[in-house]
């Protein structure tokens, strides 16, 4: 069904890879009037941010099962086998390779609105954020932990993090004195904290200690703030960094409802990427995906870049090429990083909303009005497991049928944790067991990303006509989408230059209300 060639031999910009940043920058340049060829050697949109159907995920997994790192982004992928009913429903899933939630204030939301891609993609408020209260050692079977007894047991396994001032007032688990301290801190952190002397004097401290020493918060509350409000990997993170992020999250509350975060439909990141690609196409961008878009050769020179692709019989000339490192040949990539960060990931399909999180809901009086009232709330949730033993923080993100990720009465569970290289691939299995005794399906994999010691600006590809898009450095779940939006904007300015001729997703006709 493919025509034999492209409509043109020359493009202003060739973008390689349909990941988030690539898709956003492609749309922004097309809107600014540049001619764009956007290619991706995968058959599906999204690259490393893709949303895949169940059969696509299984195929993806078989391509990323290699035990060694080599130069790949992923390794050790494995999946369980499909039951007949999963197989027949396989196309009804949108499973994300990049599970993420989106703060209601930040670059991505702003870009979605400015570009009007918000018309294609929809979001809903994240249902709840909770922290796991580890009282039992992590054991690999884990089956004892989620029996029906949990509801009646005195021990609270999971604590729901208050999402607002009202929540804090209502929360019966915090005593009045702690409440006051907590409110005092949150008020400070959500305001102009950066001009206070408290901040100046403590900005290089570790966040956990800072909360204890300066605001007098106990370890439990301090941990909750670090993990569940600031979404730190670790309470050792520096105050300055944590507060910058946390202030934005706190200010996100109230913009679209009572929570700070939004969850995208159909796997979120992948759908957002598709939305920007469509916007690019609407502005005239050309799209080629799959084997006919697999780079045969690329060479850069003073006046541009020359590419060969199976979809075109002649050389393709571009003034600039924008790409992530993985799509470029060795000679055009930046030097290899000294450190590789590895994240263990799990994608599972659950037959019920985790009992653990149900319990945390009302936190006390268990008069659950059957399914009805709770159903809407039991669609999306984040649960954070503080470090235990060898494992660091483990993040769980749940997306139910309301997010369009799966058929009715099923839930998609994503688990992720930054791990050391020697960690076994199934390190997340005990966490999965805590949340579901019989998942319908599970997939495990490692993702790897370079961590450079040199500052970002110095990390350049070998040629000025190649613009590199870099992957998020940490905290993908809450920061990843905003990172991608920022990468895209930086790449946009690198291509067009800041000469005031065109703007980034500049409004053309309709006057738009500004923020």
């Amino acid at each position: 069904m493919s025509p034999s060639e492209l409509e043109s031999d020359t493009y202003d910009v060739v973008v390689i890879g349909t990941n988030l940043s690539g898709s956003i920058v492609a749309a922004s340049l097309a809107k600014a009037g540049k001619s764009i060829l956007h290619i991706d050697p995968n058959e599906y949109y999204g690259s490393s941010h893709s949303s895949l159907t169940l059969d696509e995920l299984i195929q993806w997994s078989s391509l990323h099962s290699s035990p060694s790192l080599t130069s790949h982004q992923y390794s050790q992928a494995s999946t369980s086998t499909l039951t007949p009913s999963l197989h027949s429903d396989r196309r009804r899933y949108a499973l994300s390779l990049y599970p993420a939630i989106l703060p209601s204030r930040g670059s991505m939301i702003q870009t979605l609105i400015d570009s009007e891609v918000s018309k294609y993609v929809s979001f809903r408020l994240l249902g709840s954020v909770s922290v796991y209260n580890s009282t039992q050692p992590l054991n690999s079977s884990g089956e004892k932990e989620e029996t029906g007894m949990v509801k009646n047991s005195k021990e609270v396994k999971v604590r729901r993090v208050p999402g607002s001032k009202e929540d804090i007032f209502k929360d019966t688990s915090i005593n009045l004195r702690d409440k006051r301290k907590l409110m005092k801190f949150l008020l400070w952190a959500s305001g102009s904290y950066e001009i206070t002397t408290v901040f100046m004097e403590n900005k290089h401290k570790r966040m956990g200690e800072f909360l204890k020493d300066v605001f007098g918060l106990d370890v439990k509350l301090a941990d909750q703030i670090c993990y569940a409000i600031a979404h730190c990997d670790d309470p050792e993170e520096k105050v300055e960094r944590v507060l910058g992020r946390m202030n934005r999250y706190l200010k996100s509350i109230g913009r679209y409802g009572s929570g700070a975060f939004l969850v995208g439909q159909y796997g979120s990141a992948g759908e957002v990427a598709q939305g920007f690609c469509r916007a690019c196409a609407v502005y005239g961008g050309t799209y080629v995906l799959g084997p006919s878009a697999k780079l045969e050769s690329i060479s850069a020179s003073e006046d541009g870049v020359i590419l060969r692709l199976p979809c075109h019989p002649r050389d393709i000339k571009a003034s600039k090429v924008i790409s992530t490192a993985e799509h470029l040949p060795e000679n055009l990539r930046p030097a290899a990083a000294e450190v590789i960060i590895t994240t263990a990931q799990c994608i599972a399909i659950l037959p019920s909303f985790p009992e653990l999180l149900r319990q945390s809901r009302g936190s006390s009086e268990g008069t659950q009005t059957e399914e009805e009232g709770s159903e809407e709330n039991e669609d999306t949730a984040v649960l954070l497991f503080p470090p235990e033993g060898e494992m660091g923080l483990v993040r769980a993100l749940i997306m139910g049928e309301g997010t369009g990720s799966c058929p009715p009465r099923q839930w998609i569970l994503y688990l992720s944790s930054v791990v050391s290289e020697s960690t076994p691939p199934k390190c997340l299995e005990p966490y999965l067991s805590r949340l579901s005794s019989e998942p319908l399906f599970s997939a495990f994999y490692f993702s790897h990303r370079p961590k450079y010691d040199i500052p970002a600006e110095k990390l350049l590809p070998s040629d000025k006509n190649i613009v590199l898009l870099r992957p998020c450095e940490s905290l993908d779940m809450t920061e990843g989408m905003d990172w991608e939006a920022k990468q895209a904007e930086a790449a946009f300015w690198q291509v067009v230059g800041k000469d005031g001729q065109v703007g980034y997703f500049e409004k053309t006709e309709e006057g738009e209300e500004s923020e």
Binding site: R91, L112, E116, K119, F123, V282, E512
Partner: protein
């Protein structure tokens, strides 16, 4: 959640499919703006266009998604098909190969789209053939049309070169459409023949119950457009560009 009363406008996502240059964008332009562009293939430049169709018992508000050229290299994203309640698959009656492509798109819809999707097969560029019957699908046609709107009878082809450029017979396309349960029309975006009829018949064919979706229908059937999903938030409060009224 809330029950839609029948006269409230119900929103229906409609997608266009078919080989490049068969006239998909032109059909949309004719339907929404009653306009035609001879040379330039019109770039809509908008996310999607909306157009209302008033029936006796309901108003259907179409949210029409054009391919934006992504059909050319077969790179339409899953997003394009998501929640589409209707599809117009277009071929060019002067190019037999375009019907083969149309058949492939019907297959693709059956794979990617909601199983209850209403599909209309449209043979476009009827103005290019002179043997045009004044009432397009004739013998044994099951297509009901509103006679009142029938003032736009096809004009003879303006092109002088050939009146016999038809490569796909009505019978061939109609037989295929019947086999697959598709609505079938021959139309001309250029002069306007049958364009409103295509959309009106689709509007009639959309079952009412799939139109007022339960939240549970999320991943599946026809429902409100993505931007207004149940429980969703409206990020920008902008509306899609509006068309006229038919």
């Amino acid at each position: 959640m809330a029950d839609e009363t029948p006269m409230k406008a119900v929103q229906v996502k409609l997608v266009l499919l078919g080989e490049a240059a068969v006239g998909k964008s032109s059909l949309v332009l004719r339907f929404v703006q009653n306009d035609f562009n001879e040379n330039t293939s019109p770039t809509i430049g908008a996310a999607f266009l909306t157009q209302r169709c008033r029936l006796e018992n309901r108003i259907v508000k179409f949210e029409i998604w054009d391919t934006a050229g992504q059909e050319r290299f077969h790179s339409l994203a899953p997003m394009y098909y998501r929640n589409a309640a209707a599809a117009v698959v277009v071929y060019d009656i002067t190019k037999s190969a375009s019907l083969e492509k149309a058949k492939a798109w019907v297959k693709e819809l059956q794979r990617q789209a909601n199983p209850n999707i209403i599909i209309a097969l449209v043979g476009n560029k009827l103005d290019l053939v002179s043997d045009t019957p004044s009432e397009p699908p004739t013998d044994g046609s099951e297509v009901e049309r509103d006679e009142e709107d029938e003032e736009t009878t096809p004009k003879p082809a303006e092109s002088t070169e050939d009146g016999d450029s038809r490569q796909v017979s009505i019978a061939e396309a109609e037989t295929y459409a019947k086999e697959c349960g598709l609505l079938f029309f021959e139309a001309s975006a250029k002069v306007g023949t049958n364009v409103n009829e295509v959309f009106t018949e689709i509007a009639k064919a959309i079952p009412l119950d799939t139109i007022s979706p339960k939240p549970a229908a999320a991943a599946q059937g026809a429902r409100k457009p993505a931007t207004q999903a149940e429980g969703g938030v409206n990020l920008g409060e902008q509306q899609a560009k509006k068309g006229g009224c038919c």
